[in-house]
Structure formats: C-alpha cells, structure tokens
Symmetry: C2
Amino acid sequence: MIDQPHPSAYITGMAAHHHHEHAGASLAQAAEAALVDAGEQWTDMRSDIFAVLATFEKPASAYDIADLVSQRRGKRVAPNSVYRILDLFVTTNLARRVESANAYIANSHPGCLHDCIFLICDSCGTATHIDDDALTMSVRAAAEHAGFAQVRPVIEVRGKCADCD
Amino acid sequence: MIDQPHPSAYITGMAAHHHHEHAGASLAQAAEAALVDAGEQWTDMRSDIFAVLATFEKPASAYDIADLVSQRRGKRVAPNSVYRILDLFVTTNLARRVESANAYIANSHPGCLHDCIFLICDSCGTATHIDDDALTMSVRAAAEHAGFAQVRPVIEVRGKCADCD
DNA sequence: TTAGCGATGTAATGTTGTAACGTTCATCGA
DNA sequence: TCGATGAACGTTACAACATTACATCGCTAA
C-alpha cells in the first residue's frame, strides 16, 4: 500500500518551497489529511499516538509514547502497537526517526516532502530542524555518485544548543 | 585525559588532505600509534578488539565483537568491556559509531581528523564512506549558524549499494 | 453468512546499552 | 618493603529499545 516516493519527487518538490509549519489542532488535521491521502486510515489509536508524539519537544521513544498513550486511554498500550504506528508515520512522512536518539519526532509539515537536518542538543535533548535542500541534495548527489540508489539521507548534528551553551 | 579536538582543528586539517588508507597489520599499527599518541595504553584487550573490529566489512555491533573476542581469547568477554573500549576508540578517532545501525566500524585512517559520510547498504549491510569536507563543513556551518556549539555531525546515507541495486 | 483483510491486542523474546562494584596489576613515594 | 593510588578489566544485574508470532475484533464484499 505504501510506496516510497521516487527520488525525483524530491528534486521537483525542491523548487518552490513554501512551508506551512503547523502546531496543535492544525498539525493534527494536516497529519490526518496526509495519512488519508496516502490511502491509510486515521484511527483513534493513530490519532492518539500522533497527538502524544506532537506534544513532545524532544524526540520521544516508543516507550515514552506507549506510557502516555496508555494513560490517556486508561488502558495499557503495548510498545509493539506503538512501533507499528510509528513505522507507518515514518513511511508516510508524518514523523521522523531520529537515529542518533533511538526516538521519534512529529513532522511539523507533513505532506511536504524533503530531507531534513536535525540538531539535537546533548544537554537538554531538544531537537530542532533545519531545512536546507541545497545541502541535503548535495548529500544525496554524493551518495548517488558513489553508486547508491534509493538513498535516504540521515543527517543529524549533535551539539549544544544556544540555550545550553 | 581525552579531549575532543577543537572544531578549528577540522578546518586546518581540511586544507591539505592526504589519506593513508590502512589495512591489516598496517592499520593495527596506525591505530596503536594513534592511541598511544592520545596518551592511552595499547593493551592486549584493546588490540584484540580493534583487530576483530577491523575484520568486519559491515558495521559490527558490540555484541558481535564480544562474541568474536571471546572466541579468540577462549574466555568470555562481556559486552560491557567491549563498550568501554569502543567508546575509547570513538573518542580517540580509531573507530566510528554508525548511529543508524547501532554499530561500529574501524576508522581506516586513524589520526586523520575529519567528519565522514557513511553509506550503508540496506540489503547487504556493508558500509563505505565518503570524505567530502566541503559538504561536512557546510553541515557544521549550518548547525553553528543555528546557534549550536561543539557540533558533531552524524551524516549517514541508507540506500542500495551498486552491487545490490 | 462467511471469507478476507486491516487494525489492534497479547505474550514472549531478542538486541542494545549502562550502572555499580570488585579484582588485578603496575607504579611510586615513605 | 610496604601500602597508596589509579588504570584496566571482570562480573552481575538491569534498563532501554525493538521484533516476532499469533490471537482477536470489526468491517465489508462475495
């Protein structure tokens, strides 16, 4: 059901880049729209998990999410179920996995397809992101030049944020 | 005892870039030299762990290494001990951690200080690396521009390598 | 009605990573 | 010589992250 976008989608998508940063209810709506658009269902469980994920400032682990969703529902939700849905979110671009933190973060502009660069503070753990398509496309190009296909860049920068510095 | 290099070290190191790719005994020697240079000891345990790590084509997990080192020594070596030494290797630039694989890979030119870009094949798992200082410095610059300090870029690209494609 | 399918639940297990503390051994000054 | 110190490594236990296999539930199309 879910297909990875063809790499060229990134190139065309790159031209006119116009970001709608969502938050709160607006974000949830955008997420729902994007998921339905991808031919998937927007269930209560998915809605709850997305809502919880979106409350985090820092990348959230699947277990963090499982705990909060369990509270919210008054019934234990197993990590398993959370992982399933997080995987779905990642493939549909509603969320990103932060590899260097083994955690996930909501995409604040779902439906908008491009690579992003995460900045994760080693002190306070908060993550921000930069959109620099020129840079990410260079990374893609370098990998493709080395013979790689279907590339999926993972660009994260660990460090100290302005507040913690 | 161990200090992180100042970021400017990267900039100066970037100018004349001349790689000595090591392998086998030569690599082990280079590693030993680099470690001693950093004021650390080159013990039997460290030597064994480095040797095992260097035999891998693919990023090796700490547990993989623990198993092989245990065999080699005829005595169980706990993952714990392996982690300690891998951490040391990472801080002294003898090895790198591949975040997106939760695994480690020997640095084929220890003593040579710069960020690198890993390409990891999702099919066969092998990892190669690209050295593109212009690119990695741009990532550093972008992060610093966003107010981050003591930055440590993690640039990895998942995809299909030329052989598996 | 019921066969099929997608979503979720349940239980078990596997993998990765850390914490706390103990032992060994080399060095060094009294 | 003796004990103090400190680095390296051992041992145990546990915490955190992730997956597998299979069961159940509810919808809908034949």
